[in-house]
């Protein structure tokens, strides 16, 4: 039965309406793109309110799909858009919207191309919302693939990596993953004679060869979104080089779609043929975590360190996704919510440093001269490495315990990688290493304004609240 108010349809469509208003907004030298920005912020906030409202309509469990809405699209083949949510997908949606809102704050002073940036950002929000609410295989695929377009446009237009062939290869590589998923979905559809819900895929009994092909395609499709060795290069070479905070945040939400895909598709009771793939994924995952964490220690580029931080955590949550209980999956959701906010805030603050407000300086040691920024940045980094300042603390702990029970070796390597990447993030910003690149007191670096500090501390408050109660906004 359709719900009386189609919240999910509204959540998906609202950014699209925002696009219409942004396109119509007056955007010239005088307005400096502020109109487009305001409309976009308004659309995001409105959607946030809708998401919070949707939270109040559901019971807070993992995997219990609620608020199901169905919109028939085609009769033959029978394809419908089916939306539905559980606590987990709503949490991710909320986290992504908040992260994008923080990203919008980061580009508020950029006038050039603001209209296009807002249009593609809202398009991305529309598609990622659709992706997180999709509950049947065709709806899932539609949004899984479609979000590549705004991503390509945003990175290409504003990411400053456009002159490199890597962006091409990155997009094609992701597209290949999508096409594999599409083929797998059509095979499942043909086998069943109808589209099915994501949680029913594991019950589909295919022939052995079909099973191997279908699950391998699904596996490859989701791995293509996560920077896991040996496919990490294209993703890291694009994501780590993006200099625009909003675009960086959006580009680095993409690996989350791979993790989410694994969580939704992967069966708890594995077909025999798939056990091998999971072992491969586990080994490759921990090695990648370690490898990326070590590079983060060596690499001087702070952007790369943030990227490494994110990647290591994504892979950690991916490992958590394969643990066999739904309770841990909900913990993964709580942790990712805080994680999204932390990395978005860190990225925006980075834009105030080296590559953003002070292009003439290296980021190394600059926090010593920016007390306001330093305080909030330190808070975020400490929250990020798992200090008891956000919901990452307890939930990472629970996931790690689950991993220890499951496979101690994996857990210890993962833990090592998390420590290393945290150390990498902390080290350079405070450490005085070389006199010639060290910043001096007389460099006169402007700190963030009081308003910017308030905004960032606001994000910190949300994180602390999530530590006290991950669903504080629902239960008051």
């Amino acid at each position: 039965m359709q719900p009386v108010i189609p919240y999910l349809l509204f959540i998906v469509l609202l950014p699209l309406f925002g696009i219409l208003f942004v396109a119509a907004a007056k955007d010239n030298e005088k307005t400096g793109g502020r109109n487009a920005l305001k409309v976009a912020v308004l659309a995001v906030i409105a959607n946030l309110l809708l998401i919070v409202r949707a939270f109040t309509q559901i019971s807070l469990e993992y995997g219990k799909i609620q608020l199901v809405e169905k919109y028939q699209w085609l009769d033959s083949p029978e394809i419908s858009l089916v939306f539905g949510v559980d606590c987990f997908s709503l949490l991710l949606m909320l986290g992504i919207h908040l992260a994008v809102l923080i990203g919008l704050w980061g580009v508020k002073d950029e006038a050039q191309g603001q209209k296009s940036r807002m249009i593609f950002t809202l398009l991305f929000l529309c598609l990622i919302s659709g992706f997180l609410t999709a509950v049947d295989i065709f709806s899932f695929f539609i949004f899984f693939e479609a979000m590549l377009l705004p991503l390509y446009m945003l990175v290409g237009m504003f990411g400053e990596v456009r002159r490199q062939g890597t962006l091409f290869r990155f997009t094609l590589y992701n597209l290949l993953g999508s096409m594999l998923l599409f083929a797998a979905i059509v095979v499942i559809y043909n086998h069943q004679g109808r589209s099915i819900y994501l949680n029913a895929i594991s019950r589909v009994e295919l022939g052995q060869l079909s099973e191997v092909l279908v699950w391998s395609s699904i596996f490859a499709a989701f791995v293509s979104r996560i920077p896991i060795w040996p496919f990490h290069y294209w993703i890291s070479s694009v994501s780590a080089r993006i200099r625009n905070p909003l675009v960086f945040i959006i580009a680095n939400i993409i690996p989350l779609t791979g993790v989410y895909g694994f969580m939704r598709f992967w069966p708890k009771t594995m077909p025999d043929v798939m056990v091998f793939l999971v072992v491969v994924l586990e080994v490759v995952s921990v090695l990648t975590m370690l490898f990326i964490a070590l590079i983060a220690i060596i690499n001087k580029d702070i952007q790369y360190k943030i990227f490494s931080f994110m990647t290591v955590y994504y892979i950690f949550y991916l490992l958590g996704a394969f643990l066999p209980t739904d309770q841990i999956l909900l913990n993964v959701g709580f942790a990712i919510f805080a994680f999204l906010l932390i990395f978005a805030a860190l990225e925006v603050m980075l834009s105030y440093m080296g590559s953003g407000r002070h292009p003439e300086i290296s980021a190394e040691g600059c926090l010593q001269l920016m007390p306001r920024l330093s305080a909030v940045f330190t808070f975020m980094v400490l929250a990020g490495i798992g200090m008891p300042l956000s919901s990452m603390f307890v939930n990472n702990f629970v996931i790690m315990s689950g991993l220890l029970n499951y496979n101690p070796v994996t857990a210890f390597v993962a833990l090592g990688a998390l420590v290393l990447v945290s150390a990498a993030l902390l080290s350079d910003l405070y450490q005085r290493k070389k006199e010639d690149v060290m910043l001096r007191e007389e460099d006169q670096i402007a700190d963030i304004s009081a308003g910017e500090a308030v905004f960032m501390w606001g994000v910190a408050v949300v994180l602390v609240l999530s530590f006290v109660n991950p669903l504080w906004f629902v239960k008051g």
């Binding site: 009769d75 296009s116 539609i142 997009t171 094609l172």
Partner: protein, 465 residues
């Protein structure tokens, strides 16, 4: 009386041609709009007559044929309107162009309804002759245009092959009639002479469709011709030729088709690969989209392999959604203008998004639709194609199509990069409002189809079956 009413659309078109000739002969002060206006009224009248006769005769005519006719008429009308912009731009004479495309329309609808092999082949080759004449429209008579000349020579050879095939079948079966020839083929399907004759007819049809490896004339000839001609030839006749292929194989050659199928399969794969690879090697946007068209034909042929009604439907839907997008792309070509010159080099449109954001957005929309990107209407075509291939367990073809899409994506990403990411190094002329109107109409059709494809596809499926 009923027999006469059957010919009314053709009579209207004939009268239009007569009126155009008379006007050109008697009246000195003709503008490009004069012949457009005459052609427009003639074509509308013919279309109305087709529809009225179809319903008045109790839908006596094959609904599939009717569907293709209506599509060809509508595409022609759209093409005529947009072409006028080109002729008006430099005040060029339009008589030859409009006369030839109305005449071509006459031949195309006759080809679609043909139930006689000789009639079919004669009209088909008449269409090829008109194609050649169209290609020479408004070109500098002192220049050589080697690609068009090459097309003329090759077309002559393929016409000979096609006619020889028809003659061969006639000498074997003693009839040109579809039914009689089909009955003969059922009995003598294993004979080498029968196979050879059918293959010759099919090859000549594949040549006009531009299927690889018979495509080599296409990109050069289409890019040498003026924009209205290449736009028209890329899109409008395609549906008529597609209908011909369906009629010919499912209505006549089905008994020998199993022997021909492997060759068609190879041609389909070749078209997908050559279309996709060729598009990546092009810096001329018009040539790039000619390769795109070859790719589309390849995908359609891959789907059509069984020539069942389901295959016909799947191929038709993919062709329709692709041609809607290609129509949009060709419309945008009319706006690629700088200081009065039409631009065709990819680098010339660098930074288009800066000064013409709506045009760039339209190209982006049409290209992503061509790629079958969800949730655009191209996705509908892609779903139907992939579903059909999986249904047939044609996994090899499925992989080829996926590879082709990735290659096409690479070519389109390059176009997007140039339009959106590169800086502009030339100004663009003001865009005619009519171009925006056509683009808007195209977008509206795409969105309408996207939002509610069920009713339309249901009707189409019923007509094709």
């Amino acid at each position: 009386m009923e027999a006469l009413s059957f010919w009314i659309p053709e009579i209207f078109l004939g009268a239009t041609l007569l009126l155009m000739s008379t006007t050109a002969w008697l009246r000195d002060k003709n503008t490009p709009k004069t012949f457009y206006t005459i052609a427009k009224f003639g074509v509308w009248a013919a279309l109305a007559a087709e529809i009225i006769w179809y319903y008045q005769s109790g839908e006596a005519e094959d609904s599939q044929i009717m569907l293709f006719k209506v599509i060809v008429y509508l595409l022609l009308l759209g093409n005529m309107y947009i072409s006028l912009k080109w002729f008006l731009g430099d005040d060029r004479p339009s008589f030859r162009f409009y006369f030839l495309i109305v005449l071509m329309q006459l031949l195309l609808i006759a080809t679609v309804s043909a139930e006689d092999l000789l009639v079919l082949m004669l009209f088909l080759q008449g269409g090829v002759l008109l194609t050649y004449l169209l290609m020479r429209t408004e070109l500098d008579p002192d220049e050589a245009y080697p690609e068009i000349r090459r097309f003329g020579v090759i077309a002559l050879i393929y016409a000979g092959i096609g006619l020889a095939g028809v003659w061969g079948l006639f000498s074997l079966s003693g009839s040109f009639d579809f039914g009689a020839v089909s009955a003969y083929l059922k009995v003598h399907q294993q004979e080498a002479a029968v196979f050879a004759a059918c293959a010759m007819i099919l090859v000549s049809l594949l040549f006009v469709l531009g299927v690889a490896p018979f495509h080599f004339w296409m990109s050069g000839a289409f890019s040498e011709a003026i924009l209205p001609v290449s736009g028209y030839l890329s899109i409008v006749p395609l549906f008529a030729y597609y209908a011909c292929l369906l009629n010919l194989v499912s209505g006549v050659m089905m008994p020998v088709y199993p022997l021909l199928r492997p060759a068609i399969e190879v041609f389909a794969v070749l078209s997908v690969v050559i279309g996709a690879v060729g598009a990546n090697g092009e810096n001329n946007v018009r040539r790039l989209f000619v390769y795109s068209r070859i790719f589309v034909i390849g995908v359609v042929l891959s789907v059509l392999l069984t020539f069942s009604s389901a295959a016909g439907f799947s191929g038709f839907v993919y062709l329709l959604v692709s041609m809607l997008a290609l129509t949009g792309i060709y419309t945008v070509f009319y706006a690629f203008k700088s200081k009065g010159d039409y631009l065709s080099d990819l680098n010339d449109i660098a930074g288009l998004a800066e000064s013409k954001p709506y045009l760039a957005a339209a190209v982006l929309l049409f290209m992503t639709s061509l790629l079958g990107f969800p949730p655009l209407i191209g996705f509908l075509g892609m779903v139907i194609v992939v579903n059909h291939l999986v249904d047939l367990h044609s996994y090899g073809l499925l992989l080829t199509v996926i590879f082709g899409i990735l290659m096409m994506a690479s070519a389109y990403l390059r176009v997007i990069k140039v339009m959106y990411f590169d800086s502009k190094h030339r100004g663009f002329d003001r865009v005619d409002r009519g171009i925006y109107v056509i683009l808007l109409a195209d977008v509206v059709i795409i969105v309408a189809l996207l939002l509610s494809p069920r009713e339309l596809l249901g009707a189409v499926e019923q007509m094709l079956r």
